[in-house]
């Protein structure tokens, strides 16, 4: 990229909220029902029906508003956004316009070693639309209204992002936050976390904005970063070759790895926003805000910094552990049981996360069905720390725990996995190994020191892998050097 150009990126994110009910009726808002199963006269917009706001949606908006340090409007207003589309049952979408519920917050991201605050213009609530399904065989278009009336938050960033990587970092931070607050599952593939981008390019140092292009249809973080990189390069190319950038909406084509202009609409949109006369202004008092605030969890970045401070974890570990609230909860519960944070962090990031991913448990917003309970993991680590089992045996015990074998102590007991530290037992095994491998002993003593490992392995095998490795090494070394030697080495 030429140094002479500076990209300016603003993102609009639509996050589907995980409330039980839809935003203006009692229908289930959950994903995955048969077409039109979760509908009623209200979310189908039949004649005469009226919307009634779901207070839970407001709670969720306030959660995000408070978590991003936004100004909370004590009075906000529902507005109608009027347009025609087959999946829009009322001919308008209930949204917020002039007076959104939150304004002026920010999301923090890390850029190198620095922290950047990305401003939020607004956060507002709105209803989702249905979904058109084009059935080529039946030569028909069908509409599924299950999503109609599912609550959304629209989160609009200021045009303060300066690179595709920053945009990616912002989106990840925002998604982590939404998940922490347990208000959105952040699933881009399923469309519950959607992103549109506004991109322009201007000469570096200029304070004026260039002509902006809206990019849509990006359904993964990778797609966002690729699309932005492509679009920025495309705009720079155009400007450098003296062609104007046209203000338009472009779609990201992931196969072709390029953006292309969206089919031009029949006419320009004029949404004719106006306050919804069916809905009184939404008033949020201090009591409501205080209740929501009291219920806020510790936020991911604060928690990450605390984990580093409190447990002396490497920043990388803290970052991984706080990417999900439930993972950090798991870690801290385990540490409370047995305070060896680094070992528990290693186990959590390694074995536990591996199984979580294998079993797809992380598809849920909150993992309740952990492969092993945090306190069991902690007790497993404690057995290692107390020298009762080796690290290697601990892996075996972990596998048995996964298979439902009970607590680590029970498994160690039942399977006779307790580490052998008894010196006479160890020495007996060593004696037997040395006796049956006299030739190798000779070689070792002749200087082939690599054979030490061989003896360790043989002794281990004889003891069923349960020998205390440190003690075994020590006794073996003593045994090998105590016996008579052919020649003394210098």
């Amino acid at each position: 990229m030429s140094l002479a150009w500076e990209p300016v990126i603003g993102l609009e994110v639509h996050a589907e909220l995980l409330t039980e009910a839809k935003i203006f009726c009692g229908c289930s808002a959950r994903f995955g029902a048969a077409p039109n199963e979760n509908t009623c006269p209200v979310c189908l917009g039949l004649p005469g029906v009226l919307p009634v706001p779901n207070g839970k949606v407001v709670d969720f908006a306030l959660r995000l508003g408070l978590a991003t340090n936004s100004r909370i409007a004590r009075t906000s207003r529902w507005a109608r956004k009027n347009y025609f589309y087959p999946d829009l049952p009322k001919g308008y979408q209930i949204s917020q316009y002039e007076l959104p519920i939150c304004e002026g917050g920010y999301v923090e991201i890390d850029v190198g070693d620095a922290v950047r605050r990305i401003g939020l213009v607004r956060i507002h609530m709105e209803e989702d639309t249905g979904k058109n399904i084009h059935d080529a065989r039946a030569d028909a278009s069908l509409v599924d209204f299950n999503r109609s009336g599912v609550p959304l938050l629209e989160i609009v960033s200021a045009p303060e992002l300066r690179s595709p990587e920053e945009a990616g970092a912002y989106l990840r931070a925002l998604r982590t936050l939404l998940r922490y607050l347990e208000i959105c599952d952040g699933n881009m593939e399923e469309g519950s976390f959607r992103c549109d981008a506004n991109v322009s390019v201007r000469p570096a140092g200029s304070s004026e904005l260039g002509v902006k292009v809206e990019v849509k249809n990006m359904n993964s973080f990778r797609a966002v970063e690729r699309a932005l990189a492509y679009e920025i390069a495309r705009q720079i190319d155009a400007l450098e070759s003296g062609e104007p950038v046209v203000q338009e909406t472009r779609l990201w084509d992931p196969e072709a790895e390029r953006t292309r202009p969206m089919r031009r609409k029949e006419y320009a949109h004029d949404y004719r926003y106006f306050p919804d006369p069916d809905l009184p202004p939404l008033r949020v008092d201090d009591g409501w805000i205080d209740r929501v605030r009291a219920d806020l969890p510790e936020l991911p970045r604060t928690r990450r910094d605390r984990l580093v401070r409190q447990y002396g974890l490497p920043r990388y570990d803290a970052e991984v552990l706080t990417a999900r609230k439930d993972l950090a909860d798991f870690f801290e519960e385990a540490v409370r049981e047995h305070p060896n944070p680094k070992a528990i962090s290693n186990w959590t990031m390694g074995e536990v996360l591996r199984v979580v991913r294998e079993r797809g448990l992380d598809r849920e917003l909150v993992i309740r069905d952990w492969p092993v309970p945090p306190r069991s993991l902690a007790r497993l680590v404690r057995l290692v720390d107390e020298g009762k089992i080796s690290g290697k045996i601990a892996k075996q015990v972990f596998e048995k725990m996964l298979a439902g074998g009970g607590s680590p102590e029970e498994i160690v007991e039942a399977e006779g996995l307790v580490q052998v530290s008894d010196e006479s037992e160890l020495e007996r095994a060593i004696r037997e190994v040395l006796a049956s491998h006299a030739d190798k002993v000779e070689e070792y003593r002749a200087g082939k020191e690599k054979l030490f490992g061989f003896f360790v392995g043989q002794a281990m095998k004889r003891l069923g892998g349960k020998a205390h490795p440190g003690k075994l090494n020590e006794l073996l070394r003593r045994a090998l050097s105590a016996a008579p030697k052919g020649e003394e080495r210098p």
Partner: protein, 493 residues
């Protein structure tokens, strides 16, 4: 005993309670009256014969322990109010075949109160109009003169009550649509305070203005109906959680000395002198009943009609967007693509007045005009509301004519929308301010056509206008006059 269909709600209630009459007899007489007169009158769009008789039988089984004052009483419902399992058309081609899977809250409340649903009443399409001539299906005639309009948009409701086709009907009032037809047909029409009665299930025209209310022959009947209809509805976010008074219980309370204000703007130019004369005579009766009468002013009245037509059409343009031929109701055949489907469906499905209002509203909300029209209208609306607040700081009730003229001839204003819009000039401001108001018959003009007196009250003080109206009806007999209609519906001579 008089023919049962001639009974008011109050009279029928007494006979039902005394065992002199069964709901089934009353309902059967009502249905016969409808069959005998409606071919000519044209008040009903749907008659629910079987449903009504079944509900009447159920009511009779409760004899001696009625659910409510309306138990066993036949009621007609304006066809913009949804009735589960009963076709609800809003008098539009667009909804010709629409059978709602749910009841409007007011209908639900009527059912729970034991009322008998006899049918759905004609109106202007989507409640847009002042003469019921905008119905896509039939024209309703004024029972006092078959060549004249019954008023609108609840013209079917008012005509049916006046013609003794049913003792009680529900209407909706967006700019006077209950009171103006009540005045033109010589019956009582009550528009409650905005938020008093649920709008859930009422096919929306202008959400911030409209309210459901009763039309009957006696104030007592309207009070009884309001007691059933009123109250907070969790399904309507604009309905107000406020206690509902016992309207019948307070009706007979001594009046005391209510202060009645006459807003000068409502008695000036444009008001038929005969109408003014009859209303002033009615005010004299109020004075004799103990009212203290004085003059007042509502200075922003001249802007009310313009303000109303901006707000109402803006809301209508949005509320009617859902009729697109995709999910229910009318769909134009042979559309070549989606846009064509929308355009043809709406072109063929809507009548001219509805299209006119959608166009006006779309314009008023469009980018660049929003501030100049819609927003400005909202500011004017605030000024109009303040006018009333000022007047109500001195007066308990305002008295005015309901309509500037008596019933006008069919077709006479149909091609002059502006003239038609002025039919509601005396009622519109009340909707903009969200106030309760009632129209009462207060005499006849020289052609024998009814004239209406409008009483406007403070928000949520329906009792005040009901008590004053009840006292007026106890002292006068205008409401007893019956249009000269024989069994075949022809006006006698």
């Amino acid at each position: 005993m008089t023919d049962p269909f001639r009974l008011s709600v109050r009279e029928a209630r007494r006979l039902l309670d005394e065992g002199e009459l069964s709901s089934k007899e009353l309902t059967r007489a009502t249905l016969e009256r409808i069959h005998g007169t409606d071919e000519v009158l044209g008040a009903f769009l749907t008659v629910c014969e079987d449903l009504a008789l079944r509900q009447a039988e159920e009511s009779d089984s409760r004899r001696g322990r009625p659910l409510s004052p309306l138990d066993g009483i036949p009621v007609g419902v304006k066809d913009v109010i949804c009735t589960r399992g009963v076709r609800t058309t809003a008098a539009s081609r667009m909804l010709e075949s629409f059978v709602p899977p749910y009841d409007a809250t007011v209908v639900e409340r009527l059912r729970r109160a034991g009322a008998v649903l006899v049918g759905k009443l004609n109106c202007d399409e989507f409640a847009m109009g002042s003469s019921t001539e905008n119905s896509a299906f039939r024209r309703t005639r004024n029972p006092w003169d078959r060549e004249r309009v019954p008023g609108g948009s609840s013209g079917g409701s008012a005509a049916a009550v006046a013609a003794r086709q049913c003792p009680l009907a529900l209407g909706t009032d967006t700019g006077g649509s209950i009171r103006q037809p009540a005045a033109l047909c010589g019956v009582v029409g009550l528009k409650p305070t905005y938020g008093r009665v649920s709008r859930y299930g009422v096919v929306a025209y202008a959400s911030s203005l409209e309210q459901v209310g009763p039309i009957a022959r006696e104030v007592w009947d309207c009070a009884a109906a309001l007691g059933v209809l009123a109250g907070h509805d969790p399904a309507d976010a604009t309905s107000v959680p406020r206690e509902v008074p016992d309207y019948l219980g307070v009706l007979e309370r001594p009046l005391g000395r209510p202060r009645v204000g006459l807003p000068s703007e409502y008695f000036g130019d444009g008001i038929d002198p005969v109408v003014r004369d009859r209303v002033l005579s009615a005010v004299e009766v109020l004075r004799e009943l103990g009212a203290e009468v004085g003059e007042t002013s509502l200075p922003h009245t001249p802007y009310a009609v313009a303000c109303y037509y901006l707000v109402a059409t803006a809301e209508a343009s949005s509320n009617l967007a859902r009729y697109d031929g995709i999910r229910y109701g009318f769909r134009a055949p042979d559309a070549k693509d989606l846009l064509d489907l929308y355009c043809r469906t709406r072109r063929l499905g809507f009548g001219p007045e509805v299209k006119r209002r959608i166009m006006l509203g779309t314009y008023a909300l469009s980018a660049g005009y929003y501030e100049a029209y819609y927003l400005r209208a909202q500011k004017v609306r605030t000024l109009i509301r303040r006018d009333f607040e000022t007047a109500f700081s001195r007066y308990d009730v305002l008295a005015t004519p309901t309509s500037p003229t008596s019933a006008f001839p069919l077709g006479s204003r149909l091609h002059d929308p502006l003239q038609m819009y002025l039919s509601d000039v005396l009622t519109i401001a009340v909707n903009l301010a969200g106030l309760p108001a009632i129209s009462l018959p207060c005499g006849f003009d020289d052609s024998g056509l009814p004239v209406g007196l409008q009483l406007v009250g403070r928000p949520f003080e329906e009792e005040t206008i009901l008590r004053l109206g009840h006292a007026y009806q106890s002292a006068t007999s205008w409401h007893r006059a019956e249009p000269p209609l024989d069994q075949r519906g022809s006006t006698g001579g």
